[in-house]
Structure formats: C-alpha cells, structure tokens
Amino acid sequence: MHSLAFDIAHMFAGAMLVASFALLYQRRMSGIVDTYVVHSLILTVAAGWQAYIQDAPHLYVTAAIALVFKTLIIPIALRRIMRRLDIHRSVETVLGIGPTMLLGVGLVALSILLIFPVTESADAFAREDLALALSVILLGLLTMITRRNAITQVIGFLSLENGLILAAVGVRGMPLVVEISVAFSVLAAFVVFGVFFFRIRERFDTLDVQALGEFRGERR
C-alpha cells in the first residue's frame, strides 16, 4: 500500500544492520560507544517511523524510551565507567577484522535463508524486517563472542537487545507490555552490569574477561 513508507522503514532497518557491522570492526573503546549511540538513534527513528505508519501511538513511547535510555543514559554511564577505570586503549579481538566481517556476512545470509522461506504468506515488509532484525541480533552475538573486554561484551548484548526491539516494533500491533518491559529490563540489566563492572574492577584490576577464567570453581 504505502510503498514509500515501507521503503523508508526498510532503510532504517538496513541502516541499523550497517551500524551493527560498524560495531563489529571498531577497535577503540570510545568508538564502540559512539557507534552504539548511532545504533540506538537509528532504533529510535525506526520505532518512531513505525508508530507513524502503523498509526500506533504507543510505539512513540518505545521510541522515547530508546532515545532517553539508550542514546543518553546508558552511553553516559558507560563513558563514566571508562573514565573512572581509565580504559581508553583499543580492544583485543579474538579474531581478525577480516574473518569477523566475513562471519558477519555469513550470519546475515543465514538469517535471510531462515526467515524468508517460513514467512511467504506474510506481508513483504514484516518478513524483511524480521530478517534484518535477526541479522542485528546475530551480529550482536558475534560482537559479544569476538571481544574479550567486559564493556564491549555489554555493548554487544545491548545491540542484540536493539535488534529484538526492532523485531517487536516491526510486527504489527504487538501489545505494549512487551516493548516497555524490554526497555525497562534493559535498564535493569544495565544496573546489574554496572554493579559487575565495579566488582570486577575491584577484584581483578582489569576488565579483560579472560582474567575471570583463572578462578574456575573446580581448581580451588
């Protein structure tokens, strides 16, 4: 029906996927946080656009939550933690940038192959939106796996959550309870993460998650 409206929604979902790839190749800590802000900003716009074209005012709330929590509060808190713990160096990755990007492309192909065949009866926008959202989720997972640093793992997880919300707003008429709760649980999860940062800092003097591996319960 509104082909232009759908194209614009596609553009936002696609832009989020690009931002996910950008997260994957960032090496500097501050760059990763900046990219996460862009990621969340695109989510805000995408959710707001969905609210407009679906004529679903409650999605504006989702967009507002994404704007306030994800582009303001969480990045500010992350930067504070980084300043307090004095971590500005680059992040060690498990894999090189090249192989990681190739894996990412593979994951996008995988999610398209997974979603398209099972949603033939659905409208074109919803199925492509779901495929893009699943790609964002899988790329978030890949970001978590390929970084050894606790903060980048957290950002990988947060971008994964962004992908989930993209999926939720793209499906028409999803009840409100889900979006709000997702947003609040992200905040709650973040508080938990914050607590953990300080504990990890306090105990290990490093945010490198590898250091945790020494303390396996069996080898005490």
């Binding site: 889900v178 998650v209 945790l212």
Partner: protein, 484 residues
C-alpha cells in the same frame, strides 16, 4: 463472597505478598526481624497457593490459573516457604562468620522475595510476553544472589550465568515475537494474539513453519534457563558459588519454571497438528543432558557442584519424559518435576548444614558425618539416596514410570536412559559413602540450623513413593492428557 472472589484473593496473595515483602525487606534493618518476616511472607504466599487449589480466578488476558500451573504454584510456594525457614537459620550462621554483612543481608531478603514473585508470576502468566518478563526478572534476581559473596569464584559464576542467561532470554523473546507474528496473521492484532489460551484455541490456524522456527528459539532460550546440555555451562558454577538456600531454590524451582515455559509452547505446537513434532528434539536434548551430567558426576570435588550436575541429569530425564509424550510419560514427567524439587532442595539443605559445620564445600573435607553428626548423616544419606533413584522414594517411582513407558514404546531409547540413570546412581553412591562413613574430618560443632525443612521434604518424597492420594493421581492424569 462467592468462590470466584476467593480465587482472586488467593492470586493476589501469591503475587502481592512477595512484592510487598520485597519492598519492606529492602528497607528494614536487623537480622532477626527480617528473617522472621521473610518466613511469614513465604507462609502467606503458600496459603495463597493452597487456596488456589480450591477456587481459581476467572482467566484474564494476562493471568490464568489452570490445572497445569496450579500444581507448580503450590510446589513453588511450598518449597519457597521451607527454604525461607532453612535460610533464616543458615543466614544467621553466615552473618556470624562474616561471609555476609548486614547490608547485604537486607539485599538478600529483598531479592529472595523478588525471585519468588518473578517465579510465581511466570507460572500464572497467560500472556506470553508477561511470561518472558517474569523469567527475565527471575534471572536478574538470581544473578545478584549468586554473586552476593563477592569472592572471585562467585563473581565469575554470576558473570557467566548473567551472560549466558541474558543471551538465552533474548532468544526466547525472539521466539515469542515469532509466535505473535504467526498469531497476528491468523487472529488479528492485539492482546488475544499474545494470550496463551486463545492461541491454543486457534492453534490450528497458525502458520506451522513459523511455529517450528519459533519453537527452536524458545527451546534454546528457555532450555538455557533449564540447564539443558549444551547450554548448561552456567548451572554448576551458579549453584556452587551462591548461598545454599539459593542453590536449593535454583535447582528446585527455577529449573521447573523454565521447563514449564517450554511445555506451554510445546502444547501450542501439538495443538497445531502440522508443525514439526517437538518430541524428538526434546528427547535428544534430554538424553544428552542425562548422559553428559551422569558422567560429569564422577571426579567432582565440590559437594554443591556435584548436586548441580545431578540437577542437569534430572532435568534431562524430565525433558526426555515430556519429549516421549503420551499419558504415562507425561504423568511420569510431572511427578518427576515435583519429586526432584522436593528431593533436590532437601539435598541442598543437608549439604548446607554439612558445609557450615565442616567449614568447607569440598567433598574430601566433609567425611565421617556418621560419627560426628548422626542426624545430619541420616538426613543427607536419605536425601541423596532418594535423589539417586533408590526405592521406595518418589523419584524411583517416577523414573520407573519413565523407563517402563519408554520400554513399551521405544525399547532402543530405554538403553541409554537406563545406562545414564545407573551411571549417575553409581557416582552419587560413591560420594555419599565417603561423606557419611570414613575418617571424621575436623569440625564437630553441633548443627544450629533447623532440621525441619530437610525432614519434611524427605517425608513427602518417601510418602509419595509408596502412596499417592487418589485425587492427586486423577489430577496428574488430567494434566498429562492436557499436555498431549
């Protein structure tokens, strides 16, 4: 006042009591009053759960009490109550030895009630989104509890649990979104497309291929929470490093809640008819959990870690039973969930007593309980034998039912099943021998904590092994039929 409003009051007791108690306990100082209040709140919740047996509220778009979940609500509130009694004395000891500070104690009690609220909410949720939110809240609360001692190992365990649990829960949400997506095409937008009962009624209209894909995400997501192999990595660490009452609740209740969530979705797939049969996947995951955990039970040197692996083993048996399906196997699975909850929390109560008197969690540090603490030794021995599947306890009966129904239908699958159960039995019997007999290790102080929770659980497991009340059997049969 008519019967329906009693049901509503009961539902409010089950959900409202822990919510209010969590808020109050977060503010109150002092160990004795807060521990007593924790017990009182858990008792009130249990009363609410028991009233729900008699009269249920009308199902709404968000909450629903039916035959299936009311039994888990009662089990949940009962174990929540007995664990709060155990915790009251256990935590007093931790406070004296300085492992916990008063500030953390306040936090501990508030989180205990938050956790109970989240689990009860997950059980009575009709809306699939609400179910997800409740499981997420339970995850966050338990992560904080696991990390409460703030040792290296506790922080590692909590971090691992948190990362794996969050990713699992994210997958579960994607699965939930896919189910709604399928429902929205068939039933239109809005709340009914998220409510489990309306979904079940219209299940045959949903796109089977979307349901298939959704179920895979659900199984990976909630399966992580249930500790099924290969998503089990967080479970032994989380059980070993948190306070023992939390290990009891994690094993006895949270794993059941995760299995319950999977079963709700399995029922949708079964009702659809055209979707893939979830049985074989669940059988495969159940068997691999059982066999993996059974062999991992050997060479454990940490008592709580040992019994955490035993929980993976039992969740494997439960998943296997529900994967087999049919009236008998479902009956056995339901019985096994209940018996495992009671038995495993009893084991953790006994291990908690033992670690406090011996001052260590290592199995080679807990030896000769028979001569230093005879009552505790009897309690531990009976609990471990019950969980290992010795007759005449209830776990033997449910395992026997699983095995015999498997023999009747798929004799080949019974071979690995029996092998896994026997291997696990051998490991537990071997460890138990050293802990009860053998040279007494240092630490002869008397047990201060109450034995009541331990022995009341054991009595229930023993009675259930020889005699199940007829109404209970009829009720299990009805639920088993409902599960398909």
């Amino acid at each position: 006042m008519n019967a329906m409003s009693y049901g509503e009051i009961a539902l409010w007791l089950v959900l409202g009591t822990p919510a209010a108690a969590a808020a109050i306990l977060a503010m109150l100082p002092g160990y004795r009053t807060t521990a007593a209040l924790n017990v009182a709140a858990s008792l009130t919740t249990l009363v609410g759960g028991l009233i729900l047996l008699g009269s249920r509220p009308e199902p709404g778009p968000y909450l629903r009490v039916d035959d299936f979940n009311v039994y888990l609500v009662v089990l949940n509130t009962f174990v929540g109550f007995t664990t709060s009694v155990f915790s009251a004395t256990y935590i007093g000891h931790e406070l004296r030895t300085g492992r916990l500070t008063p500030a953390y104690l306040r936090f501990y009690h508030a989180m205990y009630q938050t956790m109970m609220l989240a689990m009860n909410l997950a059980l009575v949720a009709n809306n699939l989104g609400l179910l997800w939110v409740a499981v997420e809240a339970a995850t966050i609360a338990t992560v904080l509890m696991v990390g409460i001692y703030r040792t290296h190992a506790a922080i590692e365990a909590a971090w691992k649990y948190f990362i794996l649990g969050s990713v699992g829960i994210a997958f579960a949400l994607f699965g939930t979104i896919l189910v709604y997506f399928a429902a929205q095409q068939a039933m239109g937008e809005g709340l009914p497309a998220m409510a489990w009962d309306t979904l079940l009624a219209r299940a045959s209209d949903l796109d089977p291929r979307l349901l298939d894909l959704a179920f895979v995400f659900i199984l990976v997501g909630y399966g992580t929470k249930a500790g099924l192999v290969p998503f089990h990595a967080w479970l032994p660490d989380a059980h070993a490093e948190g306070p023992t009452p939390i290990s009891a609740v994690l094993s006895g209740l949270l794993l059941n809640v995760a299995i319950y969530a999977i079963l709700r979705f399995k029922m949708l797939l079964s009702a659809n008819g055209e979707a893939l049969a979830p049985g074989p996947i669940m059988i495969a995951m159940g068997l691999s959990s059982l066999l993996f955990a059974a062999f991992m039970l050997y060479r454990r040197n940490d008592a709580k870690r040992l019994f955490a692996y035993s929980s993976i083993e039992h969740m494997g048996i439960v998943t296997f039973a529900f994967g087999m399906g049919g009236p008998l196997a479902n009956f056995a699975g339901l019985l096994h969930m209940a018996m495992h909850s009671l038995g495993k929390s009893a084991v953790f109560f006994a291990v908690g007593h033992a670690t406090q008197v011996k001052g260590t969690q290592r199995i080679d540090g807990i030896t000769g309980l028979g001569s230093t603490h005879p009552t505790l030794a009897v309690g531990l021995a009976v609990a471990v034998l019950a969980i290992a599947g010795m007759p005449p306890f209830g776990i033997f009966m449910s395992e026997f039912l699983v095995v015999s129904s498997t023999f009747a239908r798929e004799p080949l699958l019974a071979i690995p099943l029996v092998a896994g159960v026997l291997v696990a039995f051998g490991a537990l019997a071997m460890r138990l021998h050293g802990m009860v007999f053998g040279e007494p290790s240092p630490g002869t102080a008397a047990v201060e904590a109450s034995y009541l929770p331990l022995f009341s659980h054991l009595a229930l497991v023993a009675v259930a092994g020889v005699w199940l009340p007829r109404p209970l059997v009829a009720w299990f049969q009805a639920v088993a039929a409902m599960l398909g």
